[in-house]
Each structure stands twice: as C-alpha cells, then as structure tokens.
Symmetry: C3
Subunit: 157 residues, 3 copies
C-alpha cells in the first residue's frame, strides 16, 4: 500500500483517538482497540531500563471499558479540560497486516480558573492492524517524560 496514503490513515486514527479523550467521548475510546490488545502508560525511565512497571496496564478492550466506567464513577475526569497535541508520526515497519508506528504527544491540561499547562508529554509506541478494513490499535504504549502527579487517579493518555 502507498506509504503516504497509509500516513494519512494513521493520522486519522490518531486524531480520532485524541478527540475521544479531549471531547469527553470516553466510551468510544476502547472501540479504537482490537479485542485482545495491550495498552500501557510507562515512565520513560522504566521503559529504557526494560522494567515492566507501568502505571496503567490493560490487556483487552473489556479492561479498557472497565477503566472508563471507573473514571466515570470518580470525579477525576470532569473538571479538567484536556487537549492532546500529536506530532512526528513515523511508520517504522509494515509487516503484513501489522504496522509499527510512533509519534510524540503532549497533553495540555486546564483546571477551572487556572492557566493551561503541560500535563504530560512523551511518545506513543504503536502496533496498528486492519480489522474489517478499519485501523485499530493492537498495542499502544504511552512512554512519558513527565512527572505524573502522585496520588491522582491515572487517566488515559
């Protein structure tokens, strides 16, 4: 398949992912993953050392949906506005149906009556597959540079 065409399709998937989290369409977020999948949020230091300590780990779409339900029950998600900026998409390999790609991201956060700040920045390391013609995440690792505020419930990045 044409690489520039594939780039465009991946950009669409990444934009859709960000919109789910930023526009409060949290229930649509797990739909962007395959049934069996891997979603992790990992501090860069652990990732670089090969340590398997993630602050969030989900291994199926059902686990992602559980996480969404828990977030809806808590009040952690509502009062802040999030804004994902994604940049620097690279297609690393296309192996049959599976695409390995990465991109940099920053999540900006605006708390009520406060200035907008950088909440989290890092890179996405992805495996994307075509599932009935639609691109979905089989694996998304969010390897973050930032300090995550201790004590707060981890939200999807």
């Amino acid at each position: 398949m044409d690489k520039i065409q594939l780039r465009g399709e991946l950009e669409e998937l990444y934009a859709d992912y960000a919109a789910c989290l930023d526009d409060g369409e949290l229930e649509r977020w797990p739909e962007l993953f395959t049934e069996q999948c891997r979603y992790e949020i990992i501090p860069r230091e652990n990732f670089d050392r090969g340590l398997p300590l993630a602050v969030m780990r989900c291994e199926s779409k059902a686990m992602l949906a559980d996480r969404v339900a828990a977030l809806r029950r808590s009040s952690v998600y509502g009062p802040r506005a999030l804004r994902h900026l994604v940049s620097g998409l690279r297609i690393l390999a296309v192996e049959g149906d599976c695409i390995r790609a990465q991109a940099s991201y920053a999540v900006l956060q605006t708390l009520p009556d406060e200035h907008t700040t950088v909440f989290n920045a890092g890179c996405y390391l992805d495996r994307v597959v075509r599932d009935n013609g639609v691109l979905k995440f089989q694996e998304r690792l969010c390897v973050y540079d930032s300090v995550l505020v201790p004590g707060s419930q981890v939200i999807p990045i």
Copy 2:
C-alpha cells in the same frame, strides 16, 4: 474527491492560517475567509451549554479586516511572539462543496524576556468551502479550554 488529498489541502490551509497570525501577516488573515463568514472565539463552558456568548464575533471578511486595523492601532499585538500548534485534524463530513472539520490547537506566547507559556488551547470547529478553487473558511469557531487573561484586548486565535 480523495480524502487523503483533501486532508493535505486542509493541512495547508490550517498552516497558512497559523502563519498569518504568527508571522505578523495579520492583513492576510481575513483573506482566508469567505465574504460572508462566521468567526467566533467562545469559552468551552459557554459552547457546551449552548450559550451564545463569544468573546469575539465577526460575521464578514470586512469585520475581520476592521479587527485587524484595530489591533494594528493598539500595541497589544506587537511585543509578544505567538506560535500556533495545530494537531488532530478530523474531516467530519463533506456535504457538496462544504467540508466540516475540526482540529486541536495550542497558542504559545513569548513576552519579552519571559519564558514561553501556553496562552490558549482549545479546538477549531470549521466549515470550509472551495471558493474559485481555493479552500476558505466559511466558519471558524475557536472553542477554548483556557482562561483568557481578563482586561487584555482579544486577539485572533
């Protein structure tokens, strides 16, 4: 029309828009809109509640040009450097000649001898039409997450 091709054309329009505001080519900014148009800067809270309270509203290219002239007379625009980052373009619908699209943005601001900070972040909600072969904004709503500094003159986002 091919969707990936259209994505590329929209990316060009968005980049041109950002460059007008960042490179001080303010007079070229209204040229990216159709004669009759709608440009609004709206706090997210108002937008979500359906309240029509915008901090800036223009309904024609002439009004946009008036706004530029007013900014040039004031000293609000000059001493700060602005930098738009736009990400997550989504084509929501193509209805005949009209394209509905959205994207996330962050505007960084650098005041003299100060560190760069996030001035404003939010999303663009757009209607774009082809006008003599050139894509132009028929409508751009800037729905912002951030606190706008009270008292300062509102600048285009």
Copy 3:
C-alpha cells in the same frame, strides 16, 4: 511531483529529525543534512533585523558531528528529556531539486522530578534537497521566540 505526496515526504523527514533529538539518537542527526549545509539557531529579534548573530552556526555535516561529540562529552544532554512538536508545515517554493519550506515547532523539556515546560518555540526555515533519492536539509534555520537560558550550552533544536 504531486504536492500532497511531497508534503507527506517532508513530514517524514521532520519526524525523523525530531526523533533523532528526542530519542537520544544524536549521532544520526547530522546524517539528515547534506555535506555542505547551513544550520543556525537565531533569536527572532536578530533574524527580523537582519543581524547575523546566531547562538549556534554550523556549515557542514562535519561541524554538526563535532557538535554532537561535544554534547556527548558534556553532561548537558542526558538528564533532561526533550520532546519536539512540529506543526504547520508549509511548502513555500519548489525550485528544481530544492524545496523551500517552513514549520512551527515547540520543544518541551522535562528535568528530573520537575514538571514539563516549554523550553523553546519558534519556526524552522528550511531548504531541502533530494540527495540520491533521499530528502536532506541543505539549510535549516531555527528562528526562536523564546528566551534561551543564559549560561547553558546550546543544544540542537
């Protein structure tokens, strides 16, 4: 050549450039330039006035490699995580084999146990040429809006 295709190829080059600097693959960074090249980091104020005072200037791939070696000997690069966000690519002209393009960038920085902040923002002004079929930078000017922290060694942007 098709402009949307060229946009995609440039996006790939820019993403590769950012990844070199963010993922610590510093030695690969000079490889993205032609043998004779021009790389400068210039404060916006100087650039706007036509002053030739750059905080970093390299005129060949060899000089870029020297700079990388010096950074590796110092400890300035290691302890911080950098994250480039690039947006608003514009192809300004295609003159034979040479493409003039520009884009906005922000470099986020995370120091150990500190929050992520905007380290530097500005625009890239580029001349890109096709070298044995591969796009390379013949010239990259990084014109920055931000205050660079005085006293620290200048790192590639």
